[in-house]
């Protein structure tokens, strides 16, 4: 029945959106960095994973693992080559740092997109699904891969939550997001913490990219749209708030799915935009964001 189809389809898509958005918002919340190369990192992970799986016979699991690894590498490159130099540059006044970071990551994102376009062409590729076959839930046919993706996304988010709340390094990350200066005064090395965050970010973005490729397909041209989608959700949820991003991801995911099924597939992006406009006008800090 249609309602169940919408429920399941929307759940999977929202979980995927959520995974991408959580990384993005974590990066801002802890490091204060808005990484506009986010989509580029997702796509390079997806394409690398596909390439290894197809051309080197690594199979979907091997490809996925390599893809996530590439995501981590890409995120490190982003940090060391683009963001850190800007943060440490003496020529750039502190007030303008954010602008330069935004511009720098935007440029880097474009470089990634164009480079991948050149290497892989802009034809979308799909990773082989991690699980093939379909499952019948009541009257609805659901590809097993879709269920796996939803489960994986939530497991990772759950692990992240455990990491942040239960481990030592996690608590340091949490503290750094609230008051970095106090943390340095207490003797903690911020740069170590940032390193951990960038690694986590790389894993999240890489995994999101790889799963997206196996569910919907990915191509170099998607990079910009993926970044846009991630920070639309993050603004909606509130910059820096992980629960906010998850809620927003589900709002956006279901709004899109409902529109695609009940109104028209062509109008799919519209509800998210309308919601975004309303939020910007009425509550610009987002649902759960701090001003």
């Amino acid at each position: 029945m249609l309602a169940l189809q919408i429920l399941i389809d929307g759940f999977a898509i929202s979980a995927l959106y959520g995974l991408g958005a959580v990384g993005f918002t974590l990066m801002f919340g802890v490091c204060g960095v808005l990484n506009l190369a986010h989509g580029g990192i997702m796509v390079i992970a997806a394409l690398a994973g596909w390439w290894v799986a197809a051309d080197y016979g690594a199979g979907p699991y091997g490809g996925a693992a390599i893809g996530v690894g590439v995501g981590v590498v890409a995120s490190f490159v982003t940090y060391y080559a683009v963001i850190r130099p800007i943060q440490r540059s003496r020529a750039i006044p502190a007030v303008e740092q954010e602008i330069f970071i935004l511009t720098g990551t935007l440029l880097w994102g474009i470089m990634l997109q164009v480079g991948l376009d050149y290497l892989f062409s802009n034809n979308p590729v799909t990773m082989q699904p991690l699980l093939t076959g379909v499952v019948r839930i009541a009257e609805v046919r659901v590809p097993q891969n879709e269920i796996l993706i939803a489960v994986l996304c939530w497991s990772v988010i759950g692990l992240l939550s455990l990491l942040v709340n239960r481990t030592r390094i996690g608590k340091q990350i949490l503290a750094a997001s609230i008051n970095p200066r106090a943390l340095t005064l207490l003797g903690f090395e911020l740069s170590n913490i940032y390193l951990v965050v960038w690694t986590i970010y790389g894993v999240l973005a890489g995994l999101a990219g790889v799963l997206l490729a196996s569910f919907l397909g990915a191509s170099a041209d998607n990079a910009g749209a993926l970044t846009a989608s991630a920070f639309t959700i993050v603004i909606l949820g509130g910059l820096g708030s992980v629960p906010g991003s998850l809620i927003a991801a589900y709002i956006v995911g279901y709004a899109e799915t409902l529109t695609a099924y009940l109104i028209a597939p062509t109008l799919r992006p519209i509800p998210a935009l309308i919601i975004l406009v309303i939020v910007i006008y009425l509550r610009p800090q987002g649902l759960l964001g701090r001003r």
Binding site: Y118, P124, V134, P143, L216, N222, P265
Partner: protein, 420 residues
């Protein structure tokens, strides 16, 4: 600011601009001997890359036989990033800076339509390798003197629709006993006339149209679309897609949609399609120019072999049309004995050439689709192919391609459904 700094600054700026302007100086008088042909297509799109490869092969072959009127042909390639504005700029550059004598361009109707007024303004013989919107030929028909420089090197959309209906009658109605169809097309300039013509001719072929889905070419999630189509319970899905291809096919396969897909899927004509869809393409039927192994004319197989030798793989159908389009230009120039646009156009209209996909000729001033390629069993009809076990298998016209159809297990034909 100090005076010294400003003078330094001014000097730096002036120096910089003069240096840059030095780059901009018009080139020295060019060697007039080679005849240049411009190719405008998107290199990173598979259909576009085939256009460029086809043109390169044609130029090499023509030059090997002595060129045109004693002049060698030279190709100038421009990447238009599938954007109308980029294509227009490339076109202006080709004509005004690089002084080409003819242009072969794009597979995207919107791009070709943007070039058309410039072909008229700059009086440059221009031909498209695959753009299909009937607006292209309509402008030539309605305002011949202005737009006569524009040619369509493939079949216009309403004729493609006719081919779809003709093949559907043979394959789906007669052989598979189907009665209903759903149309699924991307929202683009070429599918508007295609869908309109199909809506008219499919019922006449024996397939009642029970659903019609048009989607944004940016769509990535096709689940709602397949879901809607399935609810209407058609026997077959007739697709009109070129901008998308991998994603709907993969999702069709992963979701085990039990309805076969036929019609037009531009990307499925590419031999890489099996690989990029991880084999999900199995069972997909589409119209195309030709497939490996089928000899539509004495030239088909030899040119196909050249392609494989030069690029390592069989091209998308645009590779063949592009090859032939360059030959059309070259032979017209040869017969005209010059590159004068009006003379070349007059000769292009008289084209009577054995190409790789059939016998080539163009409709004339008095015909509906002026300057489009002639369609018919003695001219060009295209073929219909199906992906089976990693191969492109020709299945229509039945006299040239009597091969059986084969569908994946999850697809149910009316007979299979009745047997349950």
């Amino acid at each position: 600011m100090t005076i010294g700094a400003t003078w330094r600054g001014a000097a730096a700026i002036l120096f910089g601009l003069v240096a840059l302007a030095g780059v901009a100086r018009p080139a020295a008088a060019e060697d007039k001997t080679p005849i240049k042909i411009g190719i405008i297509a998107e290199e990173s799109a598979l259909l576009g890359k085939s256009i460029i490869d086809g043109a390169r092969l044609a130029v090499a072959d023509i030059n090997a036989k002595g060129g045109v009127n004693g002049h060698q042909l030279e190709l100038v390639v421009y990447d238009d990033h599938s954007s109308a504005a980029d294509a227009v700029r490339a076109y202006q550059r080709a004509v005004q800076e690089d002084h080409v004598s003819g242009v072969v361009s794009t597979f995207i109707s919107e791009v070709y339509l943007a070039l058309e007024p410039w072909a008229a303004r700059l009086k440059m013989p221009t031909i498209t390798a695959a753009a299909a919107s009937n607006l292209i030929t309509k402008q030539v028909h309605d305002d011949y003197d202005k737009f006569k420089y524009v040619f369509e090197g493939w079949l216009p959309a309403p004729i493609i629709a006719q081919a779809v209906c003709d093949s559907s009658r043979d394959l789906f109605v007669d052989m598979l006993h189907m009665k209903t169809a759903a149309m699924m097309s991307e929202d683009a300039d070429w599918t508007t006339p295609l869908d309109a013509a199909q809506a008219d001719c499919l019922p006449k072929a024996g397939l009642q149209v029970v659903d019609h889905e048009r989607f944004n070419p940016d769509t990535t999630d096709f689940t709602p679309i397949f879901s809607k189509i399935e609810a209407a319970q058609p026997d077959v899905i007739i697709t009109g897609i070129a901008h998308v291809g991998v994603q709907p096919t993969v999702q069709w396969h992963d979701q085990h949609v039990p309805i076969p897909m036929g019609g037009n899927s531009g990307q499925a004509t590419n031999p890489e399609f099996w690989k990029t869809t991880n084999g999900a393409a199995g069972g997909v039927i589409t119209q195309t120019g030709t497939v490996p192994g089928v000899a539509l004319t004495p030239m088909t197989l030899s040119v196909a072999d050249e392609f494989v030798k030069a690029t390592g793989k069989f091209p998308a159908f645009t590779g063949f049309t592009s090859y032939d389009d360059v030959r059309v230009l070259a032979e017209a120039m040869q017969r005209a004995g010059s590159t004068d646009p009006d003379k070349v156009v007059a000769e292009m209209e008289k084209t009577d050439m054995v190409g790789t996909l059939g016998h080539y000729g163009f409709y004339g001033r008095g015909d509906t689709y002026t300057h489009a390629m002639r369609y018919g069993p003695k001219d060009v009809t295209g073929v219909f192919m199906q992906w089976q076990d990693g191969n492109q298998v020709c299945i229509w016209p039945r006299d040239k391609c009597p091969n059986p159809m084969k569908f994946p297990d999850f697809v149910k034909t009316p007979e299979q459904r009745a047997a349950n």
